[in-house]
Each structure stands twice: as C-alpha cells, then as structure tokens.
C-alpha cells in the first residue's frame, strides 16, 4: 500500500494531503466526500484571530471598553474564578443556567413525549392538541417572557416554566414524528407474531421513535440554552446571561467577553455530549 510518494499521516490529519483513497479519485470538484478537513487552515485561522486580538489591543487600536486585551481577560477570568462575580461564584452562574436548561428540557420531555405519542396514535388526541401545538409552535419562546413575568413574576419557577414551554412543543413534535416514521411492516410483523397493542407500543413503536426523540432532545437543549441566556438578560440575578448583562452596566467588557465565550463553549459542549449519548443509546438510528 505504501508507495514512495505517499504523504505522512500528519499531513493527512492536517488536511494538507488527501488520504490514499481520495488521491485515486480523478473527479474531486463536486464530490463532497473528496473535500478533506483542511484542518491546517482552521488552525491558521484561529491563530491569526488570536494574534489580531493581541496586536490590536496591545497597540491600542481598539479601546478596552469595546474589546478587552488578552491580558485583561485572563486576569479577569482569574479574579472571577477566585472571587466570583457580584458575590456569586463563577461556577454557580454557569451551573444555575445549566440547571435551568436541564430542568426545563426534563419537564418538557416528561409532558411532551406522551403528548406526541398520543397524537401519533389516536385521532382524538391528535384533534385535541393539534390546534394548540400548531399555534404555539411558531411563537418564539422569548415572546412569552412578558406574559410569564405577569403570571409568575421573575422567580426560578418562571424561568423554568419558560424553558419548559420552549422544549415542550419540540419534544411533542419529535415524538409524533417518531411514531409516524414507524414502518407499517414492522407493526404488522409484531401483530402477526402475537404481540398485543401494549406490546406493539412498548417493543416496536417506542424503540422505533427513540432516534427521533433524541433529535428532539438535542434540538430542545440547543433552543433552551439560547432561551435561558436571553431570559436571564431580561430578569435574573444569577446565571451567565445575567452576569454579562450586569457586567455591561459596569462597563466590564472583559467579563462580557468571558461570559460570551463560556456560553459558546457550553452550547457546543451540550451538542457534542448529546451526540455521544445518542450514538451510545440509539446506535440503530437510520439503519432500519
């Protein structure tokens, strides 16, 4: 397999050379699978941005109030880790936001999954809930904040209720889509193997709908993470969103930047974690 001209595995990893299979393709333009990772260029881009950041702030091209210097961000991060922000530790700001998202999605799934399943299985449930789901679905959760503040004030319950609503309809629709995607031959097979309706539900329809529900869960996590930050911007004294909002009032741009980076990293982390869990729990996705 190794010929004299074959590039090193490092070059392939960096995307500076194609792997042995792609090298043998003559048609590359238009074949998406022949486009390699281009990792080297990614690394260069990130490094360039960091250098630009460092140069532009240390030469004073940008005022610290618009964008903080590298050093300022690090010393602020250090201070936040030790002292916290406004008498609340940094990890508590982060964890309360994560906690809100997880509980919102949890309750959303607890209610939404049975709702979606029933809508996929019974015309009564479908008829009853369809108008509600179809009406509320296109409303951005943020538009509900004023109403929720009027109803429940601004305490913890109000925030989790908002996230519950945000994830509820995503989970409902995902569960319904899961039921609808069941191939009729599988259901027929189960019945002619002697399964009862309950057994068809638990042993065929549920596992068959699980991949779709996981997609719903992943979407709900993403949407709720966006919503929680926005909700905390409006009214909260703890949480990453409130942290950057309050920091803005004190012109602490470095804290704002740190908050934004944390929000990005956690959003990314949630996505990756959900993908790993999904691959572990529903390895049969798309294999039917």
């Amino acid at each position: 397999m190794s010929d004299r001209n074959s590039p090193s595995s490092l070059m392939i990893w960096l995307g500076l050379a194609d792997n042995s299979f792609t090298r043998q393709k003559t048609v590359k333009f238009g074949d998406a699978s022949a486009v390699n990772s281009g990792r080297a260029y990614g690394i260069i881009t990130v490094l360039l941005l960091l250098v630009l950041w460092w140069i532009s702030t240390s030469f004073g091209w940008i005022k610290p109030i618009y964008w903080p210097s590298f050093g300022a961000v690090f010393s602020r991060l250090n201070q936040l880790m030790v002292e916290g922000f406004r008498n609340v530790e940094l990890w508590e700001h982060v964890s309360i936001s994560v906690y809100r998202v997880l509980s919102g999605v949890f309750y959303g799934a607890i209610v939404g999954v049975p709702l979606g399943l029933s809508m996929g299985l019974s015309s009564v449930a479908r008829g009853m809930f369809d108008p509600i789901v179809e009406f509320i679905r296109p409303i951005p959760p943020l538009a509900l904040i004023p109403l929720i503040i009027l109803w429940f004030g601004i305490d913890e319950f109000a925030k989790i209720f908002l996230l519950f609503l945000a994830s509820l309809f995503i989970m409902t629709i995902a569960a319904r889509a899961g039921v609808n995607s069941v191939r009729i031959s599988k259901v027929h097979a189960a019945y002619s193997l002697g399964a009862s309706k309950l057994q068809v539900l638990t042993r065929v329809i549920l596992p068959n709908a699980l991949p779709e529900m996981f997609t719903g869960l992943r979407t709900a996590m993403g949407v709720c993470w966006g919503t929680v930050v926005a909700a905390e911007l409006v009214a909260a004294d703890k949480g990453v969103g409130s942290m950057i909002m309050i920091a803005k009032n004190f012109l602490q741009t470095d804290t704002v930047v740190i908050g934004i980076i944390i929000i990005g990293l956690i959003g990314f982390g949630i996505e990756i974690l959900m993908r790993i869990i999904e691959a572990k729990l529903v390895p049969w996705r798309g294999k039917g």
Binding site: R183, S185, K186, H188, A189, A190, Y191, S192, L193, G194, A195, S196, Q199, R203, V204, P207, N208, L210, V282, P283, W284, K287, G288
Partner: protein, 279 residues
C-alpha cells in the same frame, strides 16, 4: 396442522373522488396442511392484497378466511373445527420483503420476539432460538445487531423469527425480492429444506416465475382488473428439489417449457394493461 380456505373473497377499494377499484373478485383457494402454494401475477393483480387479507391486516369486502383444525373434528362431521380469521394472529406468520426486522434488537432477540410476547419460559425459548439460528446458518451471529447483517442474512433472520413462533400457516410477501440473484438462489434452496423439515402450510407471493415454479407444489397465476385467479398448475419441481440440484432442475426442458408458458401469459397481461392505459 390447519388447512386454510379463502372463501369467495372480494375486495373493493373506494378512493374518495375516484371510481371503486375491484382489487379482488371472488377468490376461492384452499391449502391443505403442509402445502406450499406460490402466487404469481403482474403488478396490480391484487396478490399482496390477498395476502394482507389472509394475514388479517385487511378485512375483505365480502367472503371469509377460514382455518380448519383437522386434528380436532367437529362432532358428527368429517371436517375439523373451523374458525374464521378476524385479525392478525400468531397462527399466521409473515415474512416480508425487507425492513420488517426490529433493528434495535440483536439477531436472537428478533427471533425470540414471538415466544417472548407470548410469555414462554426463557430457557425453552433460548433452546428454540439456538436451534433455529443453527438451521438457518446464523449461530455465530446471535448477539449481532441485525443492521450489521447482509440482506440475505437478514431474510434468514426473518424466516427464523417466523418459525420460532411455530405458526400454522406462513405467509410470504416476496421474501427474496430484494436480494441479488445469487443469494436468491441459495435462499430458495434453504426455503425448500425448511419447508420440508417443518411441513408448514405456506403461501408464497413472488414476482419471479422461476422461484414460483421451483418452490411451489401448486402455482396460482393471478390476473388484474379485477384481481382474479387466472390459472392453476400442479408442479413436480419442489419435490425434485429435495434430491436433485436446483441448477439441474431449472435447466430441465420441462421446467423451461413451463417457465416460458407462464412468462408469455404474464407478458400478455402486462401488454393488455399497457394497451388499455394508452387507449
């Protein structure tokens, strides 16, 4: 063992806003216990509809599906206890073309599905599953998820899953239709062996004339619009298949003659449909 009777079954589909379609008209058919009948016909002749009615997934517009238990006689009668089919049940097993396996289960869990939902003892089921997997040549694949298996292997799992339930009648809807030609020939041999070994009553729907001839003791050719039984043959090839090589049988003049006769019959039906569509 039970005999299966299709008694004067008609099926009319009414599509909203369209004319009623006569999918099946006065179908009469009887399968004695242990018989393998293959059903052939051009697309749209209602063969899958017929199978779905026998399986109990559809209820016919008129007519009945009857199972006759010949081991238990009706008092003062020659016939066995007769029961009418009203819905799907474990007495009629199905083997579908493809995609009816439960991809979230391993091979052995798929095969054990019937006994499991019936609440049979685990020990006994394990034994049954092990024997069946050995019979279909998959004993090393018991723990594998089914989606890692090739198409031919998956259909062997489907056969084993159906047999694990020990049904009275097996209904096959183009079970080898999605397989490549070579795998298909091998599977035909396996099906022949399984049929002789288990002595099951089988209806086999296929669009391959060769398969229908090779496996069926009887062959029924259906015609479309309205779906009806056009012709019936009694065939020697399935019996020969137990002793002779399938290749030899399929190359014999007798086999080729029958194959050509049926092919041209179906060809004409297709021509007629096309002609009617153009006119």
């Amino acid at each position: 063992m039970k005999a299966l009777t299709v008694e004067d079954v008609s099926m009319i589909f009414t599509v909203p806003g369209g004319e009623p379609v006569h999918a099946l008209q006065n179908i009469n058919l009887r399968l004695e216990p242990g018989e393998l009948v293959s059903v052939l016909g051009p697309s749209g002749c209602g063969k899958t509809t017929l199978l779905n009615i026998v399986a109990g997934f559809l209820s016919p517009t008129s007519g009945r599906i009857l199972l006759e238990d010949q081991e238990h006689k009706e008092p003062d009668a020659d016939v066995g206890v007769i029961s009418e089919v009203k819905g799907p049940g474990a007495d009629r097993g199905m083997v579908f073309q493809q995609g009816a396996l439960f991809e979230w289960m391993s091979v052995e869990k798929n095969v054990a599905f019937g006994p499991d939902v019936a609440g049979k003892p685990k020990k006994q089921t394990q034994e049954v599953v092990k024997n069946l997997l050995e019979t279909v040549g998959l004993k090393d694949f018991a723990k594998k998820p089914v989606y890692q298996l090739s198409g031919g292997m998956q259909q062997r799992v489907a056969l084993a899953r159906c047999l694990a339930n020990d049904p009275e009648v097996i209904l096959m809807d183009e079970p080898l239709g999605a397989l490549d030609a070579l795998t298909r020939e091998k599977m035909q041999g396996l099906m022949l062996q399984l049929w002789k070994k288990t002595a099951k009553t089988i209806i086999l729907i296929t669009h391959s004339v060769e398969e229908a001839l090779f496996l069926g003791e009887r062959l029924i050719v259906m015609a479309p619009r309205p779906g009806r039984i056009e012709k019936e043959y009694r065939l020697p090839f399935a019996d020969q298949g137990l002793t002779q090589s399938p290749r030899d049988i399929k190359a014999s003049p007798e086999f080729i003659e029958k194959r050509e006769e049926i092919l041209s019959m179906i060809w004409e039906m297709e021509e007629e449909i096309m002609g009617r569509a153009e006119a």
